[in-house]
Structures are given as structure tokens and as C-alpha cells.
Symmetry: C2
Subunit: 313 residues, 2 copies
Amino acid sequence: MTTIDVQKLISGDIRTISRAISRVENDPGHSDHLLTSIYPHVGSAYRLGVTGPPGSGKSTLVDQLILHFRSAKLTVGVISIDPTSPFTGGAVLGDRIRMAGHWDDRGVYIRSMASRGSLGGLAVNTQEAGDILDAAGMDVIVYETVGVGQAELDIAQAADTTLVVLVPESGDEVQALKSGLMEIADLFVLNKSDREGANKAYTELSSILELGTESTGWEPRIIRTSALQSEGITELYTAIESHKAFLAEHGDLRRKRQSRYKNRVEGVVRQRLTEMFWTSERSDRLHEALAGIDSMTQSPNALARELIADLSL
Amino acid sequence: MTTIDVQKLISGDIRTISRAISRVENDPGHSDHLLTSIYPHVGSAYRLGVTGPPGSGKSTLVDQLILHFRSAKLTVGVISIDPTSPFTGGAVLGDRIRMAGHWDDRGVYIRSMASRGSLGGLAVNTQEAGDILDAAGMDVIVYETVGVGQAELDIAQAADTTLVVLVPESGDEVQALKSGLMEIADLFVLNKSDREGANKAYTELSSILELGTESTGWEPRIIRTSALQSEGITELYTAIESHKAFLAEHGDLRRKRQSRYKNRVEGVVRQRLTEMFWTSERSDRLHEALAGIDSMTQSPNALARELIADLSL
């Protein structure tokens, strides 16, 4: 395994960034040293999460936001998270072509990452990649994911400001998920607002927001955009700035940082414990049990207990 | 903690079933004994997974399928999985009222469960609840969840037959998720097929299915339904029966059982290891670090390593 040059990483060398992200993505067991070396350089980037159902136009929206960040002389790193199939290991959205407009801008780095399984791998590895981009001097980190459910929660955990992108056709989704979305979204983006039904969707969403009286202080807003026509993007950009200012003023950035730190320690512990646990001896015992599945009388819980029995932590 | 009467559970006593599921849901650390006691009675139920985006009519569809199972004198247990908010601990979909038509049928048991966090808790606890219903004599277990991404994968892992429910408006979703859905779905249900755009959606989905030449033998089919009008349900029921017969014939039920067993042992090990690890001493160390977050120079990875350092597994 090659060593990653931390000085080159911190100077923003693109190839080193790419290799470092590949390291946390593919070889989490050997990335602790790297992440520890860069940690003193982590902490100044602003983290923006963008989530929403497939087809809501998140990528186009992020492209438009990048143009605004670049106008403000801010560098941007985008981590686009693809739900992975556990069957092939391939990324579900792997075949899409995106954000081609930024390919010659050295202030923009875009990277797809696969999320793996259900072990909280998304949150941990994504945030590690965010740290790498932060240490490399990116001013804004954008986490973009497709999600209804878990992915949204992970994004909200990792980001300072979370955008939930909806389209006029998302009415059913809004109804079904209203209590969940309320807690996750700092800003709702009603994209494709030039489409039929946009007014109705806006009214529905507004009335749900009015119900939400959980007063952490910030009140989520709805921004109407048509990303393909570059409409509403300036308003969205301003709203993101407002949320950022609000967080800084109320000490929420610190609380978010604590919560992320805690989550990551727990995540790394979980990953490493699991790796340490599954020695070839224990794996053999499991496979032996699987071979005898037809006459199996021992429950999975009993076998797990048996395997753990002599451990003391 | 009260003991759960295994004999009563096996005899199908509803209150005992409910208490047993609450046990695996709320107190996973103390459910191993229960799950081990019932294991000899587990294995005869057929497990059906139903997933799809919010608003696709899954609940109505499941209601209609229940009527068919009941006509065939089969008892049905439904586990409806709500994505949980990690912030309130409440279930996102908790406010919906559903499947009220079966409230006086003793051959139908319906239960909502919250999925927790990103530790693979959904898969483990859901499958444990499935075992409880299986041991209690339910012939069919239905796992129903809202999902794009992880939830769908968990369901596919837990079920013998997986239905992915879409609506004519899901075109974008189908495009975006095509490679993932292909691997998960045994049957596609195009629900609300009376709506505009249904023919177009059917054609799109069909052409994607034709691309899929991964030959595990079974070729996913598309069934058009209008669950509210009870249309297409008989066809769907017949298709489920065909898939079940196919699995039995090709030894796939055994492979699925092995894969579930393996997953569950790994999941239980992960849960228990984590519980054992976070002694009050280690938690204190973490909280001490969090209090000093502003001047923190130690990366989460370094702290995790420090905490793990003297362990040997």
C-alpha cells in the first residue's frame, strides 16, 4: 500500500485527493493514520447536504449552486453518494453523466462514492471524504445523495445545512414523510417549479411547515427553483447563507461538530471491532453452521452468543 | 423484565406475540433467549417483501393480498417498517391509519416497527419479528417498507419474494435506480395503472427488464394493478405463487435461508459487541473529548484507536 503525501494533499493536489478518498472508500482499515495526520487541517469548510427522491433534479441544482459559490471565489468539493447494490458491489447510479460543465475548473472537485451495506458505512466514509476535501482547502463540501429514509438522515447528520429537494409531483412523498422531513430539512427546495402543480405543492408544503412548532429556533423555508432554467438559484444561495449565519450565531455549528465527532468515533469503533472479531476461526465456525442449515436447531442469536462467549471487552 | 411464555407464543396468542415483538424492538440485548427458544418452531412461513416509494399504494396493495391469502386459508403477519427519525426516536409514518379492514380477523396480525439508525438494526430486528410470527404459526409474513436505497436492500435480504411497487409517475425513479431495482425485485407491481401514463411507464419498465440478462433463472415480471379498485390482484397473487414454486424447485429457498442466517449472526454479533464495548469508562472518555471539541487535535479515528488499543478479540 502506497503512502499518501499529506503535504501534497493539504496543498490541494487533485491526484492526491483522489487517492486519499479511494483509501477511505476501499480500505477503511488502513485510513486511520491518514485521517489522523490531516485532522489539524480540518474544520474550516462549510458542509452542505442535498437530498431528495430520484428525478428531483439534485445534480442540476448542485451544478447551479457551484456557479454561485465560484462567483464568490469559494472552492467546492462534491461527494455524490450512490446507493450500492450489495449483490454486485456496483453503484446504482453509476451510469449517469453529470456536472460536465465544471470539468476544467480547478476550484471544483466532484467525486462519486458508493455507500456500502447497512453498517452506517455511508455516514462514516462520507464524512471521512469530507475531511479530506476540507483539509485540501475546499471551502464548501457538498454531500449529495438520493434518499427517502436512511440516506436523508445520514446526510443531515453529516451536514451543517441540509436541503431537501422536491418536485411538484412529490405531494404523496411529502404527506407520507412529513414528520421526518420536518426534522431533517433546513431548507426545502421545490424544484421544477415551472411544472404544473407547483402552486398546489407549495401550498401543501407550507401548511405542513406551519404545523411544525418544534422550536430549535430556525424555521425551515421553501425556495422555489427551476434549476434547468437557472431560476431561483440566487434566492436559494441567499437562504443557505442565512442558515449558515444563524448556526454560527446560535452555537449550533459547535453542537453539530460534537455530534459528528461522536458519531464517527462510534462508527470507527464499530467497523474495527467487527473486523477484529471475524477471525478465520470464527468465520469457519459460521460457515460450518451454514453448511448444516437444513438440520439447524441453533438460532442465529445462540450462535452469535456462542462466538462471543469468551470475549471480555 | 417479564418472561415471555413460549408455549403461549407458539399457540398463536396475540398478546404474547405483541409482547415478544416489543422485546426484540426495544430490548435487543435481552431477546436472545426468547429467539433461541422459539427457533425450533421457525422455518415454515413464506416471507414476502413489499417496497416502493411513498405514495405508491403499498398498504392498499398489501390489504388486497391479505384477502387472497385468507381465502386460501393462510394466516398472515404483516410487519410494517417505518423509517425512524434519530432525532425524536419516533416513527416517520406513525400517524397513518391503515388496514382497518382486518381488525376483526384473528388470522391477520399487523404490526408497525420503527427502524433504528444505520446499524443494520432494521434487518436484524425485522427478521427477528418475522421469526416470532413464524413460530406463532403465521403462514405468510409480509415485510412492508418505504424505500429508495437501503431499505429496499434490507427487505430483499429478509424476504423470499420481493415486490417493488411503482406508479406511472415513477418514471424518473425507474431510470435512476434501474440497475439496483433489477437485482432486488422478483416482481414489479405497476400500481395505480388506471392513471395516465401507465402504458408509457409499463413500456419503459419492460424495456429495462429486457436489458437485464443476469440469468439467475427467474425473470422478473411486471404486474399491473389498481389496488383501490382491486384490479390485477389475482394476477399478482398467481405471480407470487409462481415465484415461490420456482424458488423451491431451484434450491433457492435454501440459499436464501443460509444468507439470512449469516446476516443475522453478523448483525447480532455487531450489536452485542457494540453494547459490550461502550462501558461507562469509555463513554466518559468520549464525552470528555466532546467537551473539548473546540481545541480538539485528535481525529475521531485516533480516539477510536485509542479506545480499542488494549482489546484483543
